[in-house]
């Protein structure tokens, strides 16, 4: 009995403190989902970001040949603060190398033109809707950036916490005898509704 009480005590505390810690994630996912779900009511897709040039100068530290595209891009990204999610491209005609980094706040693009030895830095900010969807869609560990991986870990933590809330919630519910019937009805309603959608969709 004492063991059960102790387990229940820890389940209740962990249920509550995990929820308090993860409230920002719950709010972010709930609000971003509502916004994405109502895209058609909010004027459809967000307009494409507009780049603004913030720096254009001769590139003093032009890499000695034969530097690979990735080497040049990594150097440009480090020198001009390009955020973690980076894509690199090379213009086949001019040989210009572009590295574009994306954060939830917007895009930062650095272009190196070897002919003129010039580097251009452009930025494009995201609006509120894009910011939310960027946070929502970020998941996993595919990007070679500590910040992206840390975020991926937080998403995993949140998903595991959701499963824990379900399990601990079941336990807490079942220990309150007088809520069992109404609880079973609620749970049954949810399962039936979910199953109906499964079949209909």
């Amino acid at each position: 009995m004492a063991t059960t009480s102790r387990l229940e005590f820890w389940l209740r505390r962990t249920h509550m403190y995990a929820a308090l810690f993860l409230i920002p994630w719950v709010l972010m996912y709930a609000i971003s989902t509502l916004v994405m779900n109502h895209r058609v009511h909010l004027g459809g897709a967000e307009p494409a970001p507009v780049f603004e040039t913030v720096l254009q100068q001769r590139y003093e530290g032009a890499p000695a040949e034969p530097a690979t595209r990735e080497q040049v891009a990594a150097r440009l990204a480090d020198e001009h603060g390009v955020p973690g999610r980076r894509r690199t491209s090379r213009d086949p005609e001019s040989g210009a190398i572009t590295v574009t980094g994306e954060s939830p706040f917007g895009l930062r693009r650095v272009t190196f033109e070897p002919d003129g030895g010039r580097v251009t830095v452009e930025v494009a900010g995201y609006g509120g809707r894009k910011f939310l969807s960027q946070l929502h869609y970020r998941i996993g560990y595919d990007w070679n950036s500590p910040g992206e991986r840390a975020w991926g870990f937080s998403v995993d933590l949140f998903a595991v916490a959701m499963l824990f809330w379900i399990v601990s919630g079941f336990w807490m519910w079942w220990t309150i005898r007088r809520t069992r019937r109404a609880g079973l009805l609620s749970l049954g309603l949810g399962i039936v509704l979910f199953s109906l959608f499964l079949v209909a969709l």
């Binding site: 509550m16 972010m28 509502l34 779900n37 973690g84 995993d156 998903a159 949810g190 959608f197």
Partner: protein, 200 residues
């Protein structure tokens, strides 16, 4: 019944009704987050199988607008007696593609404009793909009422999450013994979230 009591019951019963959705979102998020592992385990192996290939005159021009492509997609669904939600793609390299999908599978049509040839393939999704596809569904832009109803359900689940937060905070604040540590944990969570976000 006091407000505190009502709040507890709301927190509990709302959670129980929405359990299937929370479980689906949590499991599918983990599956998407660990896509590489899922593939290595062979849990994401779904294959397209040919359905047919035939001559077909869709009367589609290279520069057909979205409404025309959408109308063709609807026509293909109706002509082939399919029961599904659908999506009309763009015309790329002289080929139009549309997808007719349910939770458990999909049929993909490809129409070659110059050859006037229509091909169709079917796929049956495995459990992991079923979960991730459910996760991604929503919105109110569909042809079928039932798909829009799912969008309404997505709203309800997320409003449920917000009510869960509010009712949870109320319960916490009404347990005076937990206020100090709760505040510490809440501030720690907010700080971590901001730090993680700025690190992106």
């Amino acid at each position: 019944m006091t407000l505190a009591h009502l709040n507890r019951r709301l927190h509990l019963y709302l959670g129980l009704v929405l359990v299937p959705w929370f479980a689906m979102y949590a499991l599918s998020a983990l599956a998407m987050s660990h896509r590489g592992l899922i593939e290595r385990l062979g849990w994401a192996e779904d294959e397209w199988t040919p359905r047919f290939e035939k001559p077909y005159d869709a009367g589609l021009a290279d520069d057909a607008d979205h409404a025309t492509r959408w109308a063709l997609a609807r026509r293909l669904v109706e002509e082939h007696g399919l029961e599904c939600a659908f999506r009309a793609g763009r015309i790329t390299n002289g080929q139009f593609e549309m997808l007719c999908f349910t939770i458990f599978g999909a049929t993909r049509f490809r129409y070659d404009l110059s050859e006037r040839r229509l091909t169709a393939e079917d796929i049956r999704f495995g459990p992991v793909r079923v979960l991730t596809r459910m996760h991604g569904r929503g919105g109110f832009h569909h042809e079928r009422l039932r798909d829009d109803l799912w969008g309404a359900m997505v709203d309800l689940v997320n409003l449920g999450l917000l009510i869960w937060v509010a009712s949870g905070l109320y319960m916490w604040w009404n347990a005076p013994g937990q206020r100090r540590w709760g505040t510490v944990v809440l501030i720690a969570g907010i700080s971590c979230f901001i730090a993680f976000m700025l690190g992106l």
